[in-house]
């Protein structure tokens, strides 16, 4: 079972986090910080796996991938295949890429709730729901259509990325 999904930027700011076991806000922040401090001390060209029993309890594994300014992190237990989890990150990133056409950190920051929609179509309550990014996109687009019809929130246009990050 997947225990948590996190996206953390290279400054240690969480950009998206979802925990599938309940944790208090303080605990979540502590874990994010703990994971980040492990990640940022990792050299290049090492494996994508981390032993993090100290943070998440025995038998938990962490796999991460580093894209531009973001770390994508999955935490899971012994019942999941580590290499498959690595591919799952790939699926997630590919989907986001399709969704925002060349995803960047700002897309994720400003489209927080859409990010969750995408994530919920891939990982469902800690289990892998769908691994085909086309299928995921179909579902996400349907949901977006429904939302747009009700005219509640509109997507942030790409021009926002002109804003400078901190």
């Amino acid at each position: 079972m997947i225990k948590a999904v996190m996206m953390i930027n290279t400054q240690g700011k969480p950009r998206l986090s979802k925990f599938y076991d309940f944790m208090t806000v303080e605990k979540q922040q502590e874990l994010i910080r703990g994971v980040f401090s492990e990640l940022c001390s990792r050299p290049e060209n090492v494996s994508n796996f981390l032993e993090i029993d100290s943070l998440f309890g025995p038998d938990s594994r962490l796999v991460y991938k580093h894209y531009a300014t973001l770390y994508f992190v999955l935490v899971f237990d012994a019942s999941e295949n580590e290499l498959a989890m690595l591919d799952l990150i790939q699926v997630l990133v590919e989907t986001l890429d399709k969704c925002f056409s060349n995803v960047c950190e700002l897309d994720i920051v400003f489209n927080y709730s859409k990010m969750h929609t995408v994530l919920d179509e891939i990982v469902f309550g800690g289990q892998v729901l769908e691994t085909n990014s086309t299928e995921v996109m179909k579902a996400v687009e349907e949901i977006s259509k429904l939302e747009a019809a009700s005219n509640a929130i509109s997507l942030v246009p790409k021009s926002v990325s002109g804003w400078r990050g901190r």
Binding site: P14, R15, L16, S17, K18, Y20, F22, V25, Q28, Q29, P43, N45, V46, S47, N48, F49, L50, E51, N81, E82, L83, A84, L86, D87, L88, Q90, V91, V109, F110, Y112, S113, H116, T117, D120, F124, G125, G126, Q127, V128, L129, E130, T131, N132, T134, E135, A139, E142, I143, L146, E147, A149, S150, N151, A152, I153, V156, V160, W163, G165, R166
Partner: protein, 872 residues
């Protein structure tokens, strides 16, 4: 539409938060936003809810408290519009958890939405349920979810399937309701639904045996066919990851087959062909292919015996190990760790490669490889592998040295073929990574050195040489100090030279130099300094020619800021000065430390590092209960000058300081219970001059301590300068054993080997049961237990009967009790004999029932005894 409402838009809030330069500024912005949101919540305007919650979730992610928004989630979920519902459910998943009572309120909304006409609303509800479902909700909503598994839209079907896994995990009783629905999912053509269906079956199989049997009978062949189809299928772009058709489905199927094949030869037989096919045909140049291979290997390992497949599997792992991708090497090491249980030889073939992985720059791989190496070591390869590891210790990263040295130590202790090798390796480790070595490790080293009488000279010289080079390694310094203190004369005179040694010339003052440096170093800790001080005292007698210099060093410590050091310095000074007549006997060489007892203590106090010494010798035959106490002590030591008449004080020091924890039989055999009581008083620092002053063993002790008018420190005088292993072994157990020696239990004297403290097995307001233990020497599996039943009430118990039950790995024999009437405030005894077929693996455990009559009324008491000492 946002602009017509008060407050900022979500996007503006994110911008202003991002524009903050400092954390304080950010907190300010968030505080203001939260205040606005609260105000808006109080106004209760339904139009603002959506935006408020969206903001709150962002704030939540940044780590600020957002509990005040929880009720808003529920209101949004209950509202009719899709966007409101969506953000409401999102908030529900992020801000709430299954333990909160607010959740009770949401069950009804969920039920309605699960029956909603809009399938996307149903999807939202399923998703929320799958994330936060509690046991209660699971019971309430299971029928809806079960129905949705048959829904026409595949998106809902797969969500319902995963939601069901959550439900059966929460309420395993519901499993059988889902079995039929799950098996129908296995016939799906849609890959996404198939994955979730297989996942649901896997979950059902792991929690319910009947479901497992059902799937094994009905679905194994179907699953194998599905796996064969996707393995052989043509290119399917939508499910293709790097040339492998749907690796995720592959993996899920293999995982389910693993559960079905495990423990069932027929099912395993059916799947051999397809497993062989997957193992040989899968492309291994991409991560996705390797993921499938990895899962396949795991399945091959788990199913019933198919040895040819296992060879194939281990060869795949061998290929993984030499892969250039770190990730692949990492999982290969993981897997080999499991494989070692099936085929040690096959894994041994990859030893060299694994050893290379210990030196990998990647910490995760290093750690795994080290774990694996320690599993690979056996008597045949221990020398070679240890040498490799120690060589690497010299050049490894600082932060890896701790793990590495701990592993080497445990390997060396476990497999050492001979003592000299053990001592050599330990010295190397201490020299390279002494500051990382745990206390019990170097304590054990001292015990081994003490037992290797023919190596005393060799060891002390080797330590002397090592400490000159590596004086910053604290534990090395400690061991060296102890040995120089004990065997200083051997160091100076080159006694007991071995053929392999180069002769060295060490003068008496060179030896003292080492100790002086240790005691004056600013970063030596208390233990080291205390040990150095004791070593000096010992050397003052061994090196009479420079005893003045030694005295000067001791005197300097009178000014130590550490009270303990100060006091000891004063005491030792007066021993050197005024008590020349007893000094030599006072500082005699330590009697040989009892390895077996030390190991038992160590295993007891440190369950994590159970160590078995290569040569478990009991140096002191405790069984000789009648032997005079001096003989008893001298029996084990070969080269100690026998000074029976004067060794009273020495004995006491050693007894209290060294063997304090080790030998109840000794104190039991010591000059009678009276002296024992005496000792005890001193130990407990009661300080009143005991009436048994005529007992030689305590006089010297008291007079030593009396010099500075503080008899209450007698214990400290004796125990603190004693070798450090006392600190761990004696502290808890020591008192117990001495008390034990006093207790009038006749069985005690007959014991041999390690002793166990008595326990209170049961205690109620009326009855107390104590157990004392002894082990007959011929069979370590057997334990004699003497039960003492003590009546705590003012009434007589009649028809007293004690019954006990034990698990299958134990055998129990009950002797008749000494009486079946238990008088008021009296006691009766009963002997039990327990044979533990899992000796060393499992501890004793016992259930018991006691029946008796009080004033003609039947009373029944029951209990379970879990507090047996370890190692029985």
């Amino acid at each position: 539409m946002n602009s017509i409402f008060s407050g900022t838009r979500l996007r503006d809030m994110i911008r202003s938060i991002r524009a903050c330069k400092t954390a304080a500024e950010e907190r300010g912005v968030v505080r203001k936003e939260c205040a606005d949101i609260r105000a808006s919540i109080n106004e209760n305007d339904p139009h603002d809810r959506h935006r408020n919650l969206a903001k709150l979730m962002f704030i939540h992610m940044l780590g600020y408290p957002t509990h005040f928004g929880q009720m808003e989630c529920l209101k949004l979920i209950a509202s009719p519009g899709f966007p409101e519902k969506r953000i409401g459910y999102l908030g529900l998943m992020l801000l709430l958890d299954e333990r909160q009572e607010v959740l009770m309120l949401v069950t009804n909304s969920l039920k309605q939405d699960l029956n909603h006409t809009n399938q996307y609303v149903v999807g939202l509800a399923l998703c929320a349920l799958g994330n936060i479902c509690s046991a209660e909700m699971a019971r309430d909503l299971a029928p809806e979810v079960e129905r949705l598994i048959q829904f026409r839209d595949p998106n809902i079907r797969k969500k319902a399937a995963l939601c069901s896994t959550r439900i059966v995990r929460k309420v395993p009783d519901l499993a059988e309701n889902f079995v039929n629905a799950a098996s129908s999912l296995l016939k799906e053509k849609h890959h996404g639904v198939l994955i979730t269906g297989v996942q649901l079956c896997y979950e059902l199989c792991t929690i319910n045996d009947e479901a497992l049997e059902y799937f094994r009978k009905k679905c194994t062949e179907g699953l194998i066919k599905t796996l064969r189809d996707i393995t052989n299928s043509a290119y399917q772009p939508e499910y293709d990851v790097a040339g492998i058709t749907d690796p995720f489905l592959h993996i899920r199927l293999l995982k389910l087959l693993r559960v079905l094949g495990h423990g069932d030869a027929d099912a395993s037989d059916l799947m051999t062909d397809i497993l062989a096919q997957v193992a040989t045909k899968t492309e291994s140049n991409k991560n996705a292919g390797n993921a499938v291979l990895y899962e396949c290997v795991e399945t091959i390992m788990a199913i019933e015996d198919t040895s040819s497949l296992r060879v194939l599997a281990i060869n795949i792992l061998g290929r993984f190990l030499s892969n250039r991708d770190n990730n692949i090497r990492y999982v290969a090491l993981n897997m080999l760790m499991k494989a070692i249980a099936f085929d040690d030889q096959a894994v041994q073939r990859h030893r060299v490669t694994i050893l290379e992985c210990v030196k990998d720059p990647d910490a995760s791989i290093r750690k795994r490889a080290l774990d694996l190496v320690s599993l690979l070591i056996n008597e045949n390869n221990v020398k070679q592998l240890t040498k490799e590891l120690i060589d690497y210790l010299e050049i490894s990263d600082e932060d890896f040295k701790e793990d590495l040295s701990a592993k080497i130590c445990s390997i060396v202790e476990k497999f050492s073929p001979e003592k000299i090798w053990y001592i050599d390796q330990m010295l190397k480790v201490l020299s390279e990574a002494g500051k990382f070595v745990k206390d019990d490790v170097w304590h054990a080293l001292i015990v081994v050195i003490s037992n290797a009488s023919e190596l005393h000279g060799y060891t002390v010289r080797a330590l002397y040489k090592a400490v000159l080079t590596y004086s910053e390694q604290e534990t090395l310094v400690r061991v060296a100090i102890w040995c120089i203190g004990e065997y200083g004369d051997l160091l100076v005179n080159n006694v007991g030279m071995l053929g392999i040694e180069d002769p060295i010339t060490v003068t008496e003052s060179d030896a003292v130099d080492v100790i002086e440096e240790a005691i004056t170093r600013h970063n030596s800790d208390m233990t080291t300094k205390a040990m150095a001080l004791v070593a000096l005292l010992k050397l003052s007698s061994r090196f009479p020619s420079i005893s003045e210099r030694i005295k000067d060093i001791i005197v300097k410590q009178k000014g130590s800021l550490l009270l303990e050091m100060q006091q000891r310095a004063i005491e030792f000074n007066s021993i050197v000065d005024r008590h020349k007549n007893i000094r030599s006997s006072l500082v005699e060489r330590m009697p040989v430390l009892d390895e077996a007892t030390f190991n038992v203590r160590r295993a007891g106090s440190l369950p994590a590092s159970v160590s078995t010494m290569a040569k478990p010798s009991v140096s002191i035959p405790n069984g000789v209960a009648a032997a005079p106490l001096v003989d008893l002590l001298d029996l084990g030591s070969d080269d100690i000058m026998a000074a029976p008449s004067s060794s009273g004080a020495d004995f006491l020091q050693d007894l209290l300081g060294v063997d304090l924890g080790s030998s109840p039989a000794q104190s039991g055999a010591a000059p009678g219970p009276k002296a024992g009581a005496d000792l005890l008083m001193d130990i407990l620092s009661i300080g009143t001059p005991s009436p048994a002053q005529n007992n030689t063993s305590s006089i010297d002790l008291l007079s030593t301590a009396a010099i500075n008018n503080s008899p209450s420190t007698a214990l400290d005088t004796l125990s603190s300068p004693a070798p450090p292993h006392v600190a761990t072994t004696a502290s808890a157990g020591g008192m117990f054993d001495l008390l034990d020696g006093l207790s009038p239990s006749p069985s005690k004297e007959a014991t041999n080997g390690p002793a166990y403290p008595p326990i209170v097995a049961y205690e109620s307001s009326t009855l107390k049961i104590e157990f004392t233990f002894s082990k007959p020497s011929e069979n370590p599996q057997t334990t004699n237990v003497q039960a003492t039943f003590i009546n705590l009430s003012p009434n007589n118990f009649t028809d007293f009967i004690f019954q006990a039950a034990v698990p299958k790995f134990l055998q129990l024999h009950l002797d008749p009790a000494s009486s079946n009437t238990l008088p008021a405030s009296g006691n009766i005894m009963q002997n039990l004999k327990v044979t533990n077929s899992q000796h060393g693996k499992k501890s004793l455990v016992m259930r018991m029932r006691i029946g008796y009559k009080v004033n003609g009324k039947d009373v029944l008491e029951e209990g379970q005894i879990n507090n047996f000492p370890r190692g029985l």
